[in-house]
């Protein structure tokens, strides 16, 4: 510490206080060493690809460049070309609608299921929880595979059941052949996989709702519906909003489900969502510039959607 003051008076002037923090500014380098490996891993496998994508999205990068031609800088031409094509906007519209429908259906069913978990006796709840965990634990690829088998047009159990119930027209019905029923099947699969997470999270939040308050409300003549809207929902709202946000983010990026369903001979062009569209553009048609441009669009969209979630976590973290 360098003291320049010669006067004996102890005035808490700004200068000494800044001097006092000086030793602390010589920070311990150890934490930086500790995070360094993770930062390097993220830089190598995430930041670098993103950077590569930004550069490539502004270059002419197709088959010819694969074989050694220089990739010429074309500015925003890729963006203009992609974003003025009807293809992309059809896919974007489809993805957004699909994402919202799936997220909302998942959320509503999840909340109803959480309420059901609260209403049934303990043994039934435990059985249901295990069943939900089972569905949740199934690896995505295995789950989609099983559902494809169940919806198989020839010997699938769904068609068999429908025919047994008297709907003869479902004998040999190809569910994945037309876009609308393709997306219906995709929605069933995604809801099946996602509802357990929502239901169990919301149920955990429901156990925090005060029974005393609910009792008082019902004594004062509140109906069950009123209790739900006015007491239960406000209590579980933080959890519900986070879960909903996560569903939107996850449902926007469904790739594996759609890709695997398309393998069964669905019309690819009419069933593409953003993920499979990028795949087709990049891996299929080798238009890396265009694929990079669409990818960055999806990345930007994800970051915008993610921000409320991150802010929420940070707020929670401080509390």
């Amino acid at each position: 510490m360098t003291r320049t003051e010669t006067t004996g008076t102890r005035v808490p002037a700004p200068r000494p206080s800044s001097v006092a923090t000086a030793p602390r500014r010589k920070t311990n380098p150890l934490p930086y060493f500790l995070i360094l490996p993770s930062v390097v891993a993220l830089l190598v496998a995430l930041a670098y690809p993103v950077g590569w994508q930004v550069l490539t999205s502004m270059r002419e990068y197709g088959l010819a460049q694969q074989f050694g031609q220089p990739a010429t800088f074309v500015g925003l031409a890729n963006y203009v070309e992609i974003f003025t094509s009807d293809d992309l906007w059809a896919v974007v519209a489809r993805s957004v609608v699909f994402c919202l429908v799936n997220a909302i259906v998942t959320l509503v069913l999840g909340i109803l299921l959480a309420l059901l978990l609260k209403a049934v006796p303990t043994w039934a709840r435990v059985v249901l929880q295990v069943a939900l965990l089972l569905a949740w634990a199934m690896p995505l690829v295995a789950a989609v595979t099983v559902w494809k088998w169940m919806f198989d047009f020839r010997t699938g159990v769904v068609n068999w059941l429908l025919v047994r119930m008297g709907f003869e027209q479902f004998a040999g019905h190809g569910w994945l052949a037309t876009p609308l029923s393709f997306f219906l099947v995709a929605t069933i699969i995604i809801v099946w996989m996602s509802v357990p997470f929502v239901a169990l999270s919301v149920y955990a939040a429901l156990t925090q709702v005060s029974g005393d308050v609910l009792e008082a409300a019902s004594l004062d003549g509140a109906s069950r519906v009123q209790s739900f809207w006015l007491i239960v929902l406000p209590t579980i709202r933080p959890v519900v909003s986070v879960v909903f946000l996560l569903q939107i983010i996850w449902d926007l990026r469904v790739f594996a489900q759609i890709k695997l369903l398309q393998d069964s001979g669905a019309p690819v062009g009419e069933t593409n969502l953003l993920g499979t569209f990028i795949y087709q553009l990049g891996v299929g048609s080798q238009d890396f510039g265009g694929a990079a441009a669409v990818s960055l669009f999806v990345l930007a969209l994800t970051i915008v959607l993610t921000w409320p979630y991150v802010r929420n976590l940070l707020k929670e973290d401080e509390a």
Binding site: P31, Y32, L34, I35, S38, A41, L42, A45, L46, Y48, Q53, T56, L116, V120, R125, L128, A131, A135, A137, M138, P139, L140, V141, T145, V146, W149, M150, D152, T155, W192, F197, S201, A204, L206, G211, L214, E215, S218, V242, F255, A256, K259, L260, G265, G275, I278, Y279, V283, F288, A291, S295, L296, T302, I303, T306, W307, Y309, L314, E316, D317
Partner: protein, 311 residues
Amino acid sequence: MTVVESPGVHAELGARPLSAAPVRARKRGGARRRVGDVVYGALAVVVFVFSVFPVYWMLNTSFLPNRLIRGSDLHFFPTPDVFTLDNYRTAIFDESRSAFIPALWNSLGVAAITVVVAMALGFVASLALTRFSFKGKRTFIVLILVVQMLPGEALFVSIFRIIDSWQMLNTIIGLSIVNIAAVVPFTIWTLRGFVNGVPAELEEAAMIDGCSRAGAFWRITFPLLAPGLVATGVFALIQAWNEFVIALIIMQRPESMTLPVWLRTFQQATQATNWGAMMAGATLIAVPVVIFFLLVNNKMTGGLVSGAVKG
């Protein structure tokens, strides 16, 4: 972590606010409540069947002989007279597709490398976030939260090109590098929660008693962390084992496929799908995951809401 399950009192009482209401009210509502119970019971059965049926159907089909699977009548149980392991034999040893055993080794290799490296990186980084304060800490936290939401689906073109330029297409190391980056943010965030759960005062007390800082950590905090480390490691393992999107792109050669990609080869445009063998394959992939998941789930339920795994 917002979600804490509190079993017991709430679970028993909270479910039925009406049950605590005066007797008169209960009498009047009696019939309606019985109807309600029936409705709840029916809904519970529907939910149960909907959740469990696909898993049951996968197991059932995997144990049935092909003539019954293709037949016009369905068999809902592999009774001893028809029970067979042929599908497993076909799935594992059939020569006409890419083989199971190499895919198993690839999957195990990728999962092992990913878990070991991601846990090591995540562990030291979580120490920095919990036991130190440093400039840029908050930025780093925001960064890992944002980064773990980035979809691999939007990056696979560049990842493919980069891995290609490193001559690492179809290699376990190449896929592991990508997986590590995908899993590390999650391990940092989750381990940070677990380390925070061990009070630093315990270490300080040990240091007053003459332990070095590292010694205090190693002897006091580390043993207390073991369950959290195991749970996080298992979840990282599941993620690496299940990874499909990137593996689909960079592990295209038959001998370098991982199990999820391998399962996809059962369905080919040119021939009828062998559903029995495909279900056997799906079972082989799913069983270890389901067991692990059920084992560690208790520890993770709270963390999952804030940790955002499983896309």
